[in-house]
């Protein structure tokens, strides 16, 4: 149904957006709000999550949390680690070398790691700092201290702490690095006999690359203490509180399904989860969410934020392309054809939906991967079904290509290289707040989504997914990246993206101007960062693909051209090869010492790109997942072929093609908790780690962003969910 009164439609949409927006204040309870009421809007109506036992368990959890926080405060008060260094004549020193604990790669030295030498007293257990230093470019450290201070009678134990940057805290405009103890070496007091004491090679798993992946990923050891980073405690609390309700709901569903699938229906599953945007609109405007207008809006300005490619022959048209299973490994259960959406240009409006063409099978019987089916608005019910299939393919593409590969893994590759190399360079204070925790959340996503939900609920297998992610990574490069060009003022996503990019650009310019001297002084870190980045980056898209089928080769070429349009990768320098493999990422610098201004500009560009990807680009998709994937009948990650000849070209009422019960609850579960991060926003700045100037720049444009439908206070400072 197409509503006539456009103002009222817009109002209803805005109202529903407000109603379904998730609000979370991390100091409050989740099941039980301030006034001990159950917050159905946030957590849904499942009885599983508002029964007395759950509430009692939650009460215990809060007690535990407060007690834990109290103990931490008491401990820090009683045993502070004061910065004062107890020193007299520096007559002794500790020496050693810190290297990467890599089994299969060369064990490279780790530069600029902080090393502290502490004594603990016998009776009062106080900490006394005896000295501190940093490792040099070769990973060696030479920490001077006073022997007699270390061998005092009252000294109980001695320890060398190796510290890694934990986070950044801004006081005013000045950011300082907080270090966390990553590794401790206890040394016997009696072994200190003056002059040098060599602790030798200390091999630590500090931001190691995984060797079992096709893209640069962080190795996270099983031993929690050796994890390269840890979530902030408040972040963990927020995550627990926000995941538990949907987890309980999902668990209840899975138990019911296990007991007897007939006990549960899709509608009941849907009802147990909080209402999403499309359901809300559908209640107020029945049929609107299945209309062409809504389709256009969501595909162009929604989670998909699809790129409009001008038609090369007809300048009045655009195309939106979603690539399906292509040559990747797939299962026979779900449909995932290539989608070509044809739209007609309109003045002062989004382009009008004109046709949808699928390439690939739409049912279980016709398997030809090159078969084409075109549907137009005049096709009646088939047109509605085609839009549903296109939405589904668009969602898989958005989740796998844009969300997981384009932001999560993309940011992670910069995060590993940055954490491995940037510590004393001011760029560290610039980037850390935006790249933190991405490796941890990606690791969680590997298990629950990439190896869990997606291979079971979409056409792509785990192998197919990882290959696809690798290929997408082969299109992502910081060099020459630019935001989408808006087609008109209705193209709100592109306008918002450009506005955000502009503000980030201003911030980066000022930051680099203020810190130019120190950035150039610590240029070796930038060099190492660049070296790691390039060395471990993915091969250029298609450079390692060969097929005897010319259609397959042509599709790869089309995908590359399309990818270059989407990711601005026309300028990939294919000559950048490491060990014969063409690497997608352009080096920032090739010199250990600062030598030319072009490299300085490169450093600015790469920082700007990283912040853009980690904040705006990720938030855009992440926060809208529940809007676009929170209604099982409206959209899903995979439509089953079913057993009928019509396949996926069937009405919503045909539950044999919809996700089954397990997949349905899993989808709502993950889109629900992924969309409700609600911790780590730029402007809220919960951890005081975001540069105040960036906040100021964004808040200055708050009204402009609001006009584009973007709540600037809801943009996350990092990719942490």
């Amino acid at each position: 149904m197409e509503p006539n009164n456009k103002d009222s439609v817009a109002e209803i949409i805005q109202k529903c957006k407000r109603e379904t927006k998730i609000h979370y204040l991390h100091n409050d309870g989740f099941f039980i709000g301030k006034f001990w009421n159950i917050n159905h809007l946030e957590i849904g109506y499942s009885k599983m999550i508002h029964n007395p036992i759950t509430i009692l368990v939650e009460a215990f959890y809060y007690f535990y949390k407060k007690f834990r926080n109290f103990i931490t405060v008491v401990h820090d008060f009683l045993f502070p680690r004061k910065p004062k260094i107890y020193v007299d004549k520096l007559d002794s020193y500790l020496t050693g070398i810190i290297i990467h604990d890599s089994l299969s790669e060369s064990r490279d030295p780790i530069h600029n790691v902080k090393v502290e030498f502490w004594a603990r007293t016998k009776f009062t257990f106080q900490f006394r700092k005896l000295g501190e230093t940093y490792t040099d470019q070769h990973g060696c450290f030479h920490l001077n201290f006073t022997l007699r201070k270390a061998r005092r009678f009252f000294v109980r134990s001695l320890r060398i702490d190796i510290l890694l940057p934990k986070d950044i805290v801004y006081v005013g405009q000045k950011g300082t690095v907080n270090w966390r103890i990553f590794h401790t070496i206890f040394i016997k007091k009696k072994n200190l006999i003056g002059l040098g004491y060599n602790v030798h090679s200390i091999a630590l798993p500090i931001w190691e690359y995984r060797m079992d992946t096709k893209v640069p990923r962080t190795y996270v050891p099983k031993e929690p203490k050796l994890a390269p980073e840890v979530y902030d405690r408040k972040r963990v609390d927020a995550l627990i509180q926000q995941i538990v309700p949907s987890e309980l709901t999902k668990t209840k569903h899975l138990m019911q399904i296990k007991l007897d699938p007939k006990l549960l229906t899709i509608d009941e599953i849907q009802a147990d989860y909080p209402m999403n945007l499309t359901q809300c609109i559908e209640k107020k405007l029945p049929g609107f969410t299945r209309s062409d207008a809504w389709f256009e809006e969501r595909i162009i300005n929604g989670m998909n934020k699809a790129t409009l490619m001008p038609d090369v022959t007809d300048h009045t048209k655009y195309h939106i392309k979603f690539w399906g299973v292509c040559h990747y490994d797939f299962n026979e259960h779900y449909a995932l054809p290539d989608v070509d959406i044809e739209l007609v240009k309109r003045d002062n409006a989004l382009p009008k939906l004109h046709a949808i063409t699928f390439t690939g099978p739409l049912n279980a019987y016709q398997k030809d991967p090159w078969q084409k089916h075109t549907f137009r608005p005049s096709d009646g019910e088939k047109w509605m079904q085609a839009k549903r299939v296109a939405r589904m393919v668009g969602s898989v593409v958005a989740e796998v290509d844009e969300h997981f590969a384009g932001t999560h893994v993309n940011v992670e590759q910069y995060a590993i290289a940055a954490y491995r190399n940037l510590r004393r360079n001011p760029i560290a204070t610039l980037l850390y707040p935006h790249i933190k925790e991405v490796s941890l959340i990606n690791r969680a996503a590997d298990k629950t989504i990439i190896a869990g939900y997606l291979p079971n609920a979409t056409a792509l297998t785990y192998e197919g997914l990882t290959d696809r992610v690798k290929d997408i990574m082969g299109l992502l490069n910081w060099k020459h990246w630019k935001p989408m060009t808006p087609i008109n003022e209705k193209h709100t996503y592109a306008l918002a993206e450009n506005l955000f990019w502009e503000q980030v650009g201003k911030f980066i310019d000022r930051f680099f101007e203020e810190n130019e001297v120190d950035i150039k002084k610590e240029w070796f870190e930038v060099y190492s960062f660049s070296k790691d980045l390039v060395l471990h980056s993915a091969p250029v898209f298609g450079s390692d693909f060969h097929s005897s089928d010319p259609r397959e080769m042509q599709r790869m070429k089309d995908r590359f051209d399309h990818g270059c349009m989407v990711y601005s990768c026309h300028h990939i320098d294919a000559t950048q090869a490491v060990n014969g493999i063409k690497k997608v990422i352009t080096p920032i610098t090739k010199t250990e010492k600062f030598e030319n201004d072009a490299d300085f500009q490169n450093a600015k560009d790469v920082c700007k790109y990283i912040i853009m990807m980690a904040t705006f680009s990720h938030t855009w998709i992440n926060e809208q997942q529940y809007d676009d994937l929170g209604d099982i009948m409206y959209n899903c990650g995979g439509l089953r072929f079913g057993l009928k000849e019509r396949g996926v070209m069937a009405p919503e009422s045909d539950l044999t093609i919809a996700p089954d019960l397990t997949r349905a609850t899993q989808m709502l579960w993950f889109t629900n908790f992924l969309s409700r991060t609600e911790y780590g926003f730029i402007t809220r700045n919960e951890e005081h780690d975001v540069h105040p100037y960036l906040i100021e720049l964004l808040l200055d444009k708050k009204a402009d962003f609001a006009k584009l439908g973007v709540d600037i206070e809801a943009i996350e400072s990092r990719t942490n969910i």
Partner: protein, 366 residues
């Protein structure tokens, strides 16, 4: 910075100094007793340097001396001299060992106006009493490999070993020996000075046996090389032949620096070389060895840092971390020497080192 309560500060410092001195005294005595009981008396051995050869000759103080006038090194003065060359600690000359020379300004077994002990290498393997005890503790010798852990833990110890070890030296005579830890030198002018001594071959001969680019493992692995053709006593035989045929002539040199109240304690650190431009080595005497002592006479010899004039003696030490505590320990090892002599009298002389295939050994009994 002036302390808030000078008197309390003084008392506190005095107490600490007394405690340090007591610990040093106790450490030196205890170590001496342990060595006396478990090595000198029970095994009739020196603490180290058992593998040696001694000779006698005469020392001539040079007529023209550039050092301050003093009561001992008087121009033209002559002393009878007994020296003993040794390899520490193994009974195998072909191993990579530190080589030594001990000088006694008399022909007696022990009594002498001036004794001094020197080793190869400009720096040592330990630098104070604490490091020496650790050195002893971490020896952990097995089949000619020792101090592996010590060298790993202590870079200066390793450096000292790398500098001091000599493998395949062609003669005891052409090596350079250094006293390392400074000693007192007070001339007639009563100005306090510090002195280091060294012995070189009289002629300008290139030093032999210096290992090239040694690693940690090379320093710890003192074993003879595979297919070694040199015998267990080759250096001693060479020295005996040399002395009997042409004699062995040496040069004794001294390095002096004037003492100041604000001297950095590092000047006493035997791991830190004094700048030879500011404090050049100067000749004080030459000596020639023209007769070799037999094994029995050689074994009976003993040297002591206490055999020195007061104005040339050892420097006082304040604690076990004081660099001068090494000489303090040496000066308190008299008990061990006496016990060795007693043991030799009771149980008889230790046998000479045999020319057999018991290589890499540190004991006669194997």
């Amino acid at each position: 910075m002036v302390p808030k309560h000078p008197f309390l500060h003084y008392i506190s410092r005095w107490l600490k100094a007394s405690y340090d001195k007591a610990v040093l005294w106790w450490t030196a005595k205890f170590f001496s007793i342990v060595i006396a009981l478990f090595l000198s008396f029970s095994k009739r051995q020196r603490m180290s340097h058992n593998n040696g050869i001694a000779g006698r000759g005469w020392l001539h103080v040079f007529e023209e001396l550039t050092i301050p006038e003093n009561g001992f090194f008087v121009p033209g003065r002559q002393f009878p001299i007994t020296i003993r060359h040794a390899s520490a600690t193994f009974l195998d000359d072909a191993m990579n060992c530190i080589r030594s020379i001990s000088l006694k300004f008399s022909h007696e077994d022990f009594k002498s106006p001036f004794d001094i002990e020197m080793n190869t290498g400009q720096t040592s393997l330990f630098w104070n009493a604490a490091s020496f005890l650790q050195f002893a503790k971490l020896r952990k010798e097995k089949w000619g490999i020792e101090y592996v852990e010590y060298y790993k833990l202590y870079p200066e110890g390793l450096k000292g070993a790398q500098w001091a070890g000599r493998r395949h030296a062609t003669s005891f005579h052409n090596l350079h020996y250094y006293s390392k830890t400074p000693m007192l030198f007070q001339g007639i002018d009563q100005i306090k000075r510090y002195a280091k001594y060294r012995v070189l071959p009289f002629e300008d001969i290139k030093e032999s046996g210096i290992p090239e680019d040694p690693s940690v493992w090379d320093a710890a692995n003192q074993r003879i090389l595979p297919h070694e053709t040199r015998g267990r006593n080759y250096l001693k035989y060479e020295y005996k032949d040399r002395v009997q045929s042409e004699g062995a002539k040496y040069r004794l040199q001294i390095q002096l620096r004037t003492a100041n109240d604000d001297d950095d304690p590092e000047i006493f650190n035997n791991m830190v070389l004094w700048d030879e431009t500011l404090f050049p080595w100067v000749d004080i005497a030459s000596f020639k060895i023209d007769s070799i002592l037999d094994w029995r006479e050689s074994t009976k010899l003993a040297f002591s840092v206490n055999n020195m004039p007061k104005y040339l003696g050892i420097l006082p030490a304040k604690s076990i971390y004081d660099y001068n505590s090494l000489n303090y320990m040496r000066s308190h090892s008299e008990f061990a020497r006496k016990m060795r002599m007693l043991s030799l009298k009771i149980f008889g002389m230790v046998p000479p080192i045999p020319d057999n295939d018991n290589r890499n050994a540190e004991d006669w009994g194997k």
